[in-house]
């Protein structure tokens, strides 16, 4: 999307212009639907997609008014909105299906608060360790493994990265071997 088209679309969205919204739905629905399907395949995708659009429309497009930057920044913004909506739908869904005991919920909340500093510390430690490992791998290995962890199939990863499906499979196998080697040497040292 070129900057002029993007800027026109944004102005139109904020003023409730039907053509701009129509263009936005056509252009971005594939992304919204695709992302939801990968994150939460068990949810009703169109219901969740509708929630995403409502987040953007509600309160006089308040969320959209906060968008700064061009098309790439907007992609990040939209992905964040989709992830938030999908997560909250997943939480809602699991609350209903698992019938979690109210008292248990309260206890868990108390526990979470009590250990939040420790949890944060371990999260940072893990992040640092992860960074240390990934810095020893080539970017393509990381891309393949990250997309795989997001639920993409080898064929889709090949299309996203513009490489052959065989290369994806090889990278996946070798990537795992490399990480195993790094972990082994870390443990030994």
């Amino acid at each position: 999307m070129n900057p002029e088209d993007f800027s026109n679309m944004m102005s139109g969205l904020l003023s409730g212009n039907e053509n701009s919204w129509s263009f936005f739905i056509d252009s971005f629905y594939p992304l919204i639907r695709g992302k939801i399907s990968k994150m939460a395949p068990h949810l009703d995708v169109d219901d969740t997609a509708q929630e995403v659009y409502m987040q953007l429309i509600n309160n006089d497009y308040r969320a959209l008014r906060k968008v700064e930057g061009g098309f790439p920044a907007f992609l990040n913004f939209l992905i964040a909105v989709i992830e938030n909506v999908a997560k909250s739908q997943i939480a809602k869904h699991s609350r209903f299906s698992q019938k979690i005991d109210h008292q248990k919920d309260i206890e868990t909340n108390l526990e979470d608060k009590r250990y939040s500093i420790e949890i944060e510390f371990f999260r940072k430690e893990e992040e640092g360790f992860f960074t240390h490992i990934i810095s020893q791998l080539d970017l393509t290995y990381l891309e393949v493994m990250q997309l795989r962890s997001k639920g993409y199939k080898a064929r889709e990863i090949a299309e996203i990265l513009k490489i052959s499906q065989n290369t994806v499979l090889t990278k996946m196998r070798r990537g795992k071997e490399k990480i195993k080697k790094i972990l082994d040497s870390e443990i030994k040292s």
Binding site: S11, S15, G16, E18, W21, S22, I25, D26, S27, F28, Y29, P30, L31, R33, G34, K35, D46, A49, Q50, Y53, M54, Q55, I57, N58, D60, Y61, R62, A63, R65, K66, G69, G70, F71, P72, A73, L75, N76, F77, L78, I79, A80, V81, N84, E127, F130, T131, I134, S135, L137, L139, L142, E143, Q146, L147, K150, Y152, E156, E159, I160, L161
Partner: protein, 215 residues
């Protein structure tokens, strides 16, 4: 939902990452970004996220007509709430005020009424007709404590409430503007605000205000 830091993570901007993906940067910058991606999880995640988005936009399923119409229906409903956006700039001895109506995108000059006390700026008063009612917003500056007091008056005395949001957060509510018009909590000199006018719980109209102050 925390909307503040949704898309400002990591060291690299989304624009940089997009150019990197398209291969439209110089060799040195390409190498530099590749190195950052290998050492910064946030940047790497953002990079993958953009790549993923571009792929899904190209390959994903199109919406059904039924779905598209349902979203356009929501937009139509939202757009029926009148909204005015005001931009108030105070630069040294001058004040400029402009407004944008929802139907007309271009900004227009509007009537302003202000006075000066010595070199200090005086109150700023803006009157606009919205949804058949005349709304007057009066900003009284307090340069020492660097804030404004906001008073909202309506020409038609109706039982209308006004909810004030500052930077998207609820700031204060006046339950009945016919009985009280002054917001007690002062406003910052800069920033974006929104006034939501409601009658019996239903939104009647909204006014967005952006304050910019160069002392």
């Amino acid at each position: 939902m925390n909307e503040e830091n949704l898309y400002s993570r990591g060291k690299l901007s989304a624009e940089d990452l997009h150019l990197f993906i398209k291969g439209e940067l110089g060799d040195d910058r390409m190498r530099e970004i590749e190195l950052i991606l290998k050492t910064s999880i946030d940047d790497f995640k953002q990079y993958i996220s953009i790549k993923e988005s571009l792929y899904l936009m190209k390959k994903g399923l199109k919406p059904s007509l039924h779905f598209k119409n349902s979203i356009l229906g929501l937009v139509k409903k939202q757009s029926s709430i009148p909204h005015i956006q005001l931009l108030i700039k105070v630069i040294k001895d001058s004040i400029s005020i402009s407004s944008s109506d929802q139907e007309i995108l271009e900004f227009q000059g509007i009537m302003t009424d202000f006075a000066f006390r010595g070199s200090e700026p005086g109150p700023i008063s803006v009157t606009r007709k919205v949804n058949g009612n005349e709304v007057t917003l009066s900003f009284t500056p307090n340069m020492e404590s660097e804030n404004y007091l906001l008073e909202v008056t309506l020409l038609k005395e109706e039982e209308i409430s006004a909810l004030l949001l500052v930077e998207g957060e609820e700031w204060e509510i006046i339950r009945d503007l016919s009985k009280k018009s002054l917001f007690e909590n002062p406003l910052p000199l800069h920033g974006s605000m929104e006034l939501i006018f409601k009658k019996r719980g239903e939104i009647q109209y909204t006014i967005g205000i952006v304050l910019h102050n160069d002392k």
